[in-house]
Symmetry: C2
Subunit: 352 residues, 2 copies
């Protein structure tokens, strides 16, 4: 019999970064777990999701969610196995989606968990294509992008967890899709994903290539990057274009406003004259209204092979910080997931 | 018997302004009228509407409507009397809403006209509260602002043709309304219009007064001004705030982007984090879907005395240019209308 689990290894916020985060801002430590109270479960983390929004949680400033406090465990979505349960809703061995953060074990209230069915899809997809990033792509497109057949959609970070789903759903809905990524390997993968045009933002002629790719202008620009891609896209936006603003990863490490001229008036003028819709959103504002519809549609698309996905696994919680720093620079290739412990639902690889 | 009308006096675009328009950009001239063809009518202009959007038509650059060409009559909405008709739809003496521009007479296709009923309201209101500006306020609020009872709405240029209607409709719909205008007389009028708070943007403590006026933040900022008002409003926008962008009168004479820092990233970040909706619109995109509903609602509100309006009349077409330049500086007080000829539906004032 295994000894009882009393402690968790965790990555905590050691100090708040100014600009680009560094190893010194995060600290690996061992924390004592609380007792499992009535209605709670003890979890073992199998997979930890790493996502760009986490950079915002490291700041003290107000956002749509409260910051992680210094000394607290870094926030994050996880797929876990139930080890002990004091809740009638779950039994040991159950696989659940939690938001238990960057740690090996956690005690959580059972009502904060969602059951994951290993028979339906690999359980890691609950953090990607069947989880938060996939849902963000889905609601951003359907509720704000409102793609119509024949329209042109552009998305950057297009091999990523959100962008790859955006492009594929838009294609299913009949759009002309242009995906933007960095480097030849990612661009090649964009073609596998079915993008009509795949562009490399590192190309010295990127702006020209983009203009060639959108002869009829851009009807939907799904914004999850900002910066230079926005600048290139801006002049091509059509009248009545929609810009769901899902994220701005290129800006997350900025500490001050860039030098002028001030382009705010120009943006407002374009919004006015072109009757643009520029709307920010987070997926969680839509969970109560759209989540089950998403699960139904996405499961069907996956089963039919109409949506592909790619996962980028990193082994070991201790490697989460460097993987996260790489994510902010676009070094990951596909949905970035930390494998914190062995996945009991996947057979072990054969011994060579 | 009166001699036949063969010519029109007109204000034409003499040259394109760079920055602030001047008298030299406009020219009064006499133009020969074409013959009245089948399906057409000859009109005598009674009222000409002056509106901020006309500044945009003086530029060569692309907008949601094509520019006025140099040498052509300035564009504008008018209320006219039919003098001659070669259309079964109209008879001499009928009053119509036209888009015949800055001139005393015009020959127009009958299908471009809308009948105005002098028994319903003063015919000049077809250019204001019952016309384009009133409709812009109505669709901007209902389709984009989506006011809910108890929410806070802010609007600037709030004694103007659009702003005054925005504030009053929002009040009818249960909002806490904050109106912004320039100068004591206009601020006093805001109170007559029923705004909950009336602010003078010329006050040295304007920003402080605004923050006091919106203790619960701002849920709807109806944007028709831009510039310093936007800057003051920006930090008070609540999560999920809506910003219908109707116009940006403070920017229309700008010839280059202002000095930095570049605040575009900051705006995009706020849109993202606060899940703002920033959406440009023009009323004419909604005519086919919302115009009759607007006429029904606004007529009822006017009859019930729930919406008040103020008109600022200028006598004589020759005074239109100066009146228009004043409009761009906020010198008008209420809906600005040029009285081009006597209104046959209003009794002459008694001889003193």
């Amino acid at each position: 019999m295994l000894p009882p689990v009393t402690h968790s290894r965790a990555v905590v916020l050691a100090s708040r970064p100014v600009g680009e985060p560094a190893r010194s801002n995060l600290r690996l430590e061992t924390r004592e777990l609380p007792a499992v109270a009535d209605g709670q479960v003890l979890l073992r983390t199998i997979y930890l999701s790493l996502d760009p929004y986490m950079r915002g949680r490291m700041n003290a400033t107000r956002s749509y969610a409260k910051p992680v406090e210094v000394g607290e465990v870094m926030e994050g979505g996880t797929v876990c196995e139930v080890l002990e349960s004091a809740s009638p809703a779950f039994s040991p061995g159950d696989i659940v989606l939690a938001h238990s953060g960057w740690q090996t074990h956690a005690v959580q209230d059972s009502q904060s968990l969602r059951r994951v069915d290993p028979a339906k899809a690999p359980i890691s997809t609950a953090l990607g294509v069947l989880g938060m990033p996939g849902f963000a792509a889905y609601v951003g497109l359907t509720e704000i992008g409102r793609v119509r057949p024949g329209e042109t959609l552009v998305v950057a970070a297009a091999t990523g967890a959100v962008g790859s789903v955006v492009g594929q759903i838009a294609k299913i809905q009949g759009a002309h899709t242009v995906g933007i990524a960095g480097g030849a390997r990612k661009v090649a993968f964009l073609r596998e994903l079915g993008f009509d045009v795949a562009l490399d933002h590192r190309s010295p002629t990127f702006e020209y290539e983009l203009s060639e790719a959108v002869p009829d202008g851009i009807d939907i620009y799904f914004e999850n990057v900002g910066g230079a891609v926005w600048d290139a896209v801006f002049d091509h936006l059509n009248d009545f274009a929609r810009v769901p603003v899902c994220g701005l990863i290129s800006q997350y490490n900025e500490t001050s406003a860039p030098a002028g001229p001030d382009r705010l008036p120009q943006l407002m003028s374009a919004i006015n004259i072109k009757r643009l819709v520029v709307r920010g959103f987070t997926q969680r504002d839509f969970i109560s209204t759209h989540y089950s519809e998403f699960q139904r549609d996405m499961s069907a698309w996956l089963s039919a092979g109409r949506i592909k996905y790619r996962e980028d696994f990193v082994d070991g919680l201790e490697n989460a910080p460097d993987a996260f720093f790489g994510l902010l620079k676009g070094k990951n290739f596909g949905k970035l997931i930390v494998k914190v412990a062995d996945d009991p639902t996947r057979p072990a690889p054969p011994v060579p």
